[in-house]
Amino acid sequence: MTWTRKHLLDIESLTPDEIVTVLDTARAFKAVGERAIKKVPALRGKTVVNLFVEPSTRTRISFELAEQRLSADVINFSAEASSFKKGETLKDTARNLEALNADFIVIRHSASGAPHFLARVLNASVINAGDGAHEHPTQALLDVFTIREHKGKIAGLNITILGDILYSRVARSNIWALRKLGATVTLCGPATLVPKTFEQMGCRVTHDVDEAIRDADIINLLRIQHERQRKTMFPSINEYIQLFGLNKARLAKAKPDALVMHPGPINRSVEIDSDIADSGRSLILEQVTNGLAVRMAVLFLVNGGKGPPEVTGN
């Protein structure tokens, strides 16, 4: 399978084969992280700008380390310390960065579609590091990578995503990726945060946690995103914990080999009990390790996406 895309903007437009190509490539990059010398020269001489207009710690650090391990030069740009405060538009900021000969722009933005917009106006490769409530493609790819490592496959698995789905770009990207690879996806959470409209994406929607996790191979918990909720979507945190929080008693009703994931940052004792987060059934820290490998793979692939199709020959 040859990757020919110059950008990674979303999961929705990827084919199943393209998703598998990223996962296979990431496997090789994960091994690089286990060597004494964790750096390869694949992006030597290339410049990557991390344009984080919306705050982020773990995604930015993960991208930054991925870029450094590929030998790229890295510029970090955050909204707080930038000319956005002075009223510069996204287009002008990005054009200025491109005038410095940036080859890649990794963008995190609170507006859905911001990466797609940049991809239209710039020559650089654009990678979406999360746009509004739309998509967070590298998070979905690392989640799917982690699931495949543990379960050996994606097709036929039952994946339950539990929590704030409505405002979650992680959920949307995960749903696209999992459905394309043949998993059955169940969404669960308060009715206000998990509307029935998600059934149009090919998911099962339920508001009963015990039922949602009973047959699950993977339970992917999402954070309650206070910053994206214009008003409270459920009566109280305590009620959420009682009805939807993942605790030992609840997990005991799931399959014995069901594993728990969370994109972080976790709210201990809200979505997830501390003992579960720290237990052997939690893949949370592995997700962080795998995120690095997946982001290296994505940068490696889109770098090639600017060239002609793979030249076969000796």
Binding site: M1, T2, W3, T4, D24, T25, R27, A28, F29, A31, V32, R35, A36, I37, K39, V40, P41, A42, L43, K46, A297, F300, L301, N303, G304, G305, K306, G307, P308, P309, E310, V311, T312, G313, N314
Partner: protein, 178 residues
């Protein structure tokens, strides 16, 4: 369909590998210092086969690894990203004689990338190169130490090394575009 000529059949390939193994043994008196690393796709299986023959010759296990060079290529931004294979080197290369194994030697760029990639794993005492086919057209000052068969080719032709492990048959064919 391109016009194809069989350069090596299964028996000839087996003879070539046996001869290469004997040449490696002749060149390197101390078998304990020799490790093999094959370059995918093709070289990894060839390295395993050579390792088996050498282990019998030397009466000791010869370590065999897989060295993927795609992250070290010099044409990464000129073409679609190559398929990356896992690198598995379960031994220390420092102080060892590393025999790189590839199916075809052409421009020499893969070999250069392989030498670069090896650097990340340690400092070999020596690096040697074994190939089944040397088809000429070098773009770098690189020469193979062990060659199964020298095949003069034109630039536009293709040399395909098919192996039982990948393709169900052992043979080398030359394809001429029509």
């Amino acid at each position: 369909m391109p016009e194809t000529t069989v350069i090596l059949d299964a028996a000839a390939m087996q003879r070539a590998l046996t001869r290469i193994a004997h040449e490696i043994a002749e060149r390197n008196e101390n078998g304990a210092e020799v490790v093999l690393t094959g370059i995918p796709v093709g070289g990894d299986h060839l390295a395993k086969r050579l390792g088996k023959i050498l282990s019998e010759l030397w009466q000791q296990t010869v370590p065999v690894g897989i060295l993927d060079v795609s992250m070290h290529r010099d044409d990464l931004d000129r073409r679609a990203a190559p398929t990356v294979h896992p690198t598995v080197i379960p031994f220390d290369v420092t102080g060892k004689t590393v025999v790189l194994v590839d199916d075809v030697l052409f421009s020499g760029r893969t070999t250069r990338a392989a030498m670069d990639a090896l650097n990340d794993f340690g400092r070999p005492k020596k690096i040697q190169l074994a190939v089944v086919i040397d088809r000429g057209h070098r773009e770098l000052p690189i020469k193979a130490d062990f060659v199964g068969k020298n095949v003069p080719t034109a630039e536009g032709e293709k040399v395909r090394v098919r192996l039982v492990e990948n393709d169900g048959v052992d043979e080398v064919v030359l394809e001429r575009p029509k």
